[in-house]
């Protein structure tokens, strides 16, 4: 069989080599910006984070010092409000999709959730402005929370559904076979089995909206001072970073980097924790 041992032609070897080089190059090029962004964040941010930055409110232009304490607390407030709205609704719809999922209605919900997930956050901002801010006549942390909560619902619903579908049917049948009513079966057996995955989904959604700026621009609006009243305009870390980044002052630029570093540390910690929890959760599900 001479054809079987014939060496691969030069052209074919060349294209193959180019392909491998290009695709490895693509991998490198994709990873490079990530390294650059993290490198810069740490390099620029570390120097600007200080105790004052974490405990003080912003100072007027020209005065050195000041910090983002109110923005950090404001972000936490808005995110808590958002989670209170988004997490129960998201998990509830996820359970419905997975456990009662038959027929056309459920497919429509699935599809709408996926499409809702892709709607620009700025559009969510306008809609919540029209729905909450206009009737109230003023900006508030609450409206910011509504915007972020709405953005969390579809993500959480879809991950919850996926995680519940991974629970073997035999577990449901076993519980129902013992005479346990449906609601207890779902909450205490099925949801509990999938709890790690469901929590992961909720945290991913949380991490995703934690850095959102656009929906907060006309809802929470931002604030230079302390405000703990959820019914008043409230500062948020991303808004503050945006305002400082586009300002012409070096001092504010430094603070923007510091704020960005704090924001990303919060998010990366959340995402990495999620990663650890999921890898364990999968093992538990397989076992």
């Amino acid at each position: 069989m001479p054809s079987a041992t014939r060496p691969t032609s030069l052209w074919r070897r060349l294209t193959n080599f180019c392909f491998i080089a290009l695709s490895s190059g693509a991998a490198f090029l994709v990873l490079a910006p990530l390294a650059a962004i993290f490198g810069y964040l740490v390099y620029k941010g570390m120097g600007s984070i200080s105790w004052a930055f974490l405990t003080h409110t912003p100072r007027p232009v020209g005065e050195p010092g000041g910090g983002m304490a109110n923005a950090i607390v404001g972000s936490v407030t808005i995110l808590c409000l958002g989670s209170i709205i988004g997490v129960p609704l998201g998990i509830g719809s996820g359970i419905y999709l997975a456990e009662f999922g038959r027929g056309r209605y459920v497919n429509v919900v699935r599809f709408t959730a996926d499409v809702l997930n892709g709607i620009p956050s700025i559009v969510v901002g306008i809609a919540v402005y029209a729905l909450v801010v206009l009737p109230q006549q003023h900006f508030s942390a609450l409206s910011g929370g509504v915007a972020l909560g709405i953005m969390m619902i579809p993500t959480i619903a879809r991950t919850t559904e996926e995680m519940l579908l991974m629970v073997p049917n035999t577990i449901r049948e076993a519980a129902l076979g013992l005479g346990i009513p449906q609601w207890r079966t779902t909450l205490q057996v099925t949801l509990r089995t999938a709890s790690k995955g469901v929590i992961t989904g909720a945290m991913l959604a949380f991490a995703r909206v934690a850095g959102e700026t656009a929906p907060l621009l006309f809802t929470a609006f931002g604030n230079q001072f302390w405000n703990l009243n959820p019914n008043q305009p409230t500062a948020a870390l991303p808004i503050q970073i945006f305002a400082y980044a586009i300002s012409p002052f070096d001092e504010w630029h430094r603070q923007a980097w510091a704020g960005a570093l704090i924001l990303i540390v919060l998010i990366v910690v959340a995402v990495s924790a999620v990663r650890v929890v999921t890898s364990r959760g999968n093992m538990a599900n397989n076992a």
């Binding site: 650059a36 509830g92 456990e99 620009p120 956050s121 559009v123 809609a127 579908l165 970073i241 924001l263």
Partner: protein, 342 residues
Amino acid sequence: MLRFQTPVAPSAGAEPAAQEAASSSAPRIELHTSRISKYLDFSFRYSLLLCSVSIIAVMGLFFYELTSRSKLSITKFGFGFFLGNVWDPVSGDFGARPFIYGTLVSSLVALVLAVPLAVGVSVFVTELCPRYLRGIISFTVELLAAIPSVIYGLWGIFVLAPLLRTYVEPWLGKYFGWTGLFVGPAYGIGMLAAGVILAIMIIPIIASITREVLVAVPQSQREAVLALGATRWEMVRMAVLRNARVGIMGGIILGLGRAIGETMAVTMLIGNRPEVAKSLFAPGYTMASVIANEFSEATDDLYLSALVEIGLVLLIVTVIVNACARLLVWSITRGRTGRANA
């Protein structure tokens, strides 16, 4: 339960009998279910239904609010809104063409840059790279998706824009200036910077869908082509990419949807000047960034209504784009994940 353990002769008459027995055994289970727990089951189910209705309700409310709030501008300008070149809040003349143009061009630049890279990295991860690198690379790409848009913008202003201004744009102008796309002064900030930052932001979306689709290609297809003596490249081209192209298309459309609606990073990098310019070095303006910049300053009703109409257009376009992408991706991965609706 015991009934099924006793051997039943497989005759036509036995089956109705068994069904009868099954239905008669049902009330026995009912005895153990109290009325309260039945009520709880009912309310459990319908409160969950209510939760899921919220998703559809939100979508409906969005459409309703944006349509009703933009009625003023829709009735005043009609279709001319999309063709008008002038955006002048003072005289009350609003045309969205510069913003539509800016959104389209910056998204297009982003796609041109992102698609080859995203497909390349997915092919590298699924077909080429050693197993121990796989998890690390896909995790890192996922991290790219977790970085907030405002941080991309910050990095873009202080790192990417100077880089483009001093190195990339002069070089492009020198060698590719004849295309007319790379002429004029190099500001750094402009359409090109917005396109590059968008590309970095949509790569993880396209890459994660592409990887999912590539993994879904049956291993036997690869083995068959390799057994015929194909090189790696030929294997990827004939067995993998050909089978996965519809799904990759879905990923690309999904990335496009994200690029169209992306706000903060673009606002910080595109230069925010409502002009239609051919050169990519020139500053531009997108639909999302005009809303971000001007919405809270819009005082009179017509101005606000014009901005809301831009938002409505964004909503409609992204809904269509995402619906197409989802349908494409679903048609590929549905069988594999074994969804209930498959």
